[in-house]
């Protein structure tokens, strides 16, 4: 097991109280596997990825749980030790390619920096490696393009540069936080294809954070669905798309417009995400659920394992109550 997140709790202290952005989240990522974490805004998926990277800042903090990377607890590591892990063993790419490259440096300086920080290569070797990486991510004429400033590149190219930067040190895990959200559809497909290809070529695992189920269907092996800081369902992509078990997952899938269906209005899940400071007593999804029962408002269901190895947090599937 490459990455094991166990009962992760990350909270933010705000004036009105404490927000548990991530509340007891557990999942595993195997070597070479793509795990997608899906959920709407505020479900805690980005905070989960930042927690793994050790990038949670005041007023936030990781309040509990374990993040085991190759068996070592990242939460116990010092700042220095984490700096050595970041960029080398675990890398990350961001949503907004327009702002994720520093405008005052050439592309080569930014890729080389990562290499020089983590390896014993000299500048010449690092430059060669940077050009190789640009070639690998499909940038034409990489020998010339390394001398470009970010503003001389398009959004798709910048995202490729970001990926080149992230992969420069052969990381074992790549965290991609909505890597395609800011790109147009054709570029999205290219970038996803690229990530998939590189995963096979380099054997790295990918933690893909997204709210786009289309992206999940295309690239991921396993899916974790998050809602209000908790995992509500975990399954393989096939299982999830053929038979979603949790009403929230069902709602998400039903919200996708279908080509063969003639509908006046698109389906949507009723209501809104509850206030994170005052979460309801029972299941967080109870207010919005079509199949809500009385006990859903009283108790939080436990994330229980089904016969075919999926995990679901719903009383429709199992009677187990959280914390009992």
């Amino acid at each position: 097991m490459l990455l094991e997140v166990k009962d992760l709790e990350t909270e933010f202290k705000v004036k009105r109280g404490t927000v548990k952005a991530v509340n007891g989240v557990s999942f595993e990522v195997d070597k070479g596997e793509i795990l997608a974490v899906v959920g709407e805004s505020g479900s805690g998926k980005s905070v989960t990825s930042l927690s793994v990277m050790g990038l949670i800042r005041d007023p936030g903090r990781v309040a509990g749980g374990e993040i085991l990377f190759n068996g070592e607890n990242l939460l116990k590591k010092s700042t220095k030790e984490m700096q050595a892990v970041r960029g080398d063993k675990i890398s990350m790419i961001f949503q907004e390619p327009m702002t994720s490259l520093n405008p005052v440096y050439r592309v080569k300086d930014q890729i080389m920096e990562t290499i020089l920080t983590h390896t014993t290569m000299n500048k010449k070797e690092a430059l060669k490696r940077a050009i190789e990486m640009l070639d690998l991510v499909g940038i034409p004429a990489p020998e010339q393009r390394v001398n470009d400033y970010p503003h001389q590149m398009s959004g798709g190219m910048r995202q490729r540069v970001m990926i080149a930067m992230a992969l420069a040190c052969d990381p074992e895990l790549l965290i991609a936080d909505e890597p395609t959200t800011a790109l147009d559809v054709t570029i999205q497909a290219q970038i996803l294809d690229l990530i998939n290809r590189l995963r096979e070529k380099l054997g790295m695992a990918v933690l893909l954070i997204t709210h786009d189920l289309g992206v999940v269907a295309e690239t991921a092996d396993k899916v974790v669905v998050m809602y209000c800081g908790r995992v509500v369902e975990q399954a393989t992509v096939e299982q999830l798309f053929t038979k979603p078990l949790h009403p929230y997952t069902q709602g998400l899938l039903d919200s996708i417009p279908k080509m063969d269906e003639d509908r006046e209005r698109l389906y949507m899940i009723k209501g809104i995400v509850p206030d994170p400071i005052h979460l309801p007593k029972g299941c967080s999804f109870a207010d919005r659920c079509d199949k809500c029962m009385e006990k859903c408002r009283e108790h939080m269901p436990k994330l229980s394992v089904t016969e075919d190895g999926r995990k679901v947090r719903c009383f429709l599937v199992s009677d187990e109550v959280e914390g009992e």
């Binding site: 970041r86 961001f94 907004e96 994720s100 990562t114 920080t117 503003h151 970001m162």
Partner: protein
């Protein structure tokens, strides 16, 4: 900046990545006032370097037989109450004013940038502590603070630099802090962190280069303030000590004779005005040239 440059990046810019400085210079060139300011600054720099060589008399030599000579062919700007050649003294003062101006700005810039960066980057309690200290300094009138510092440190050129520099630290700290607050939200700062950089490297290598333009503009304008402050301290008799020639000091000592011998005030006064004006015009032009919104 981004939009405009993308338009013109297709061909030549690929080979000339220095184009940013070019674009800046092209914009600056169109601003007549800024060019005039730059010319005057260069002129003063020339005087500062060549002043001693150009001066017809020793600026500190007093010829008691020729006091209060009106401007004439022998004494272009006349002589003062001690019979010293005002032209030579104004020339010699250029060096001091520019040196104190630049040195004071460099000193406050250095300390202000470090304080502002730390406050802006780390935020929280560190930020509150540093910025409240800056607020306290700002609440004291700057010239009063400078005089107090001079009184504590003693007289002399180096002390004047420290006094004048210290007074403007809060300004730089504030500017740098606010720039950093906006820059640090960019993903490339997170990206820098993600590839394993230390906080120090992120501040100085990744964030500061992005706020340089606002600092440069403020520093250029700051030189004119520093020149004024130097003159003010000199006028009050606290800056450079006689017989050294300093514009403010010359003004202060000549003010008794404002009606009988106005030329003793006019020329050092003009020098101050011209130098301050030149730095202000150039600074304004620089701000426009560096501000992407001004580039159409």
């Amino acid at each position: 900046m981004r939009k405009k440059q993308q338009v013109q990046t297709t061909g030549e810019a690929l080979e000339k990545p220095e184009s940013q400085i070019r674009v800046m210079w092209d914009t600056l060139k169109k601003n007549k006032a800024a060019v005039a300011g730059l010319v005057v600054i260069l002129f003063f720099l020339f005087l500062a370097v060549m002043g001693d060589w150009l001066a017809p008399y020793d600026p500190e030599y007093s010829d008691m037989g020729h006091t209060f000579v009106a401007p004439c062919r022998d004494y272009y700007f006349g002589t003062d109450q001690l019979g010293r050649d005002i032209f030579s003294r104004v020339l010699s003062g250029t060096k001091i004013s520019l040196f104190v101006g630049v040195a004071a700005v460099a000193y406050s810039l250095l300390i202000g940038t470090v304080l502002g960066s730390v406050a802006g980057y780390f935020g929280g309690k560190v930020d509150s502590f540093i910025m409240r200290c800056m607020d306290i300094m700002l609440s004291i009138p700057s010239i009063l603070l400078a005089i107090t510092l001079m009184a504590a440190l003693g007289k002399g050129l180096d002390k004047a630099i420290i006094a004048i520099g210290t007074v403007s630290i809060p300004e730089y700290a504030r500017i740098v802090r606010s720039s950093i607050l906006s820059v640090k939200e960019n993903d490339y700062v997170a990206a820098a962190k993600v590839v394993g950089n230390s906080d120090r490297r992120i501040i100085f290598h990744h964030i500061l280069p992005n706020v340089v333009s606002s600092i440069v503009v403020r520093a250029t304008l700051g030189i004119s303030t520093a020149i004024l402050d130097t003159a003010a301290l000199g006028f009050l008799g606290m800056g450079v000590q006689p017989p050294m020639a300093e514009w403010g000091d010359m003004l202060g000592r000549a003010r008794t004779y404002i009606f009988s011998a106005p030329y003793t005030l006019i020329f050092p006064g003009l020098a101050i005005t011209l130098a301050v004006l030149a730095f202000n015009l150039f600074g304004d032009g620089l701000r426009d040239a560096l501000d992407p919104k001004e580039r159409v």
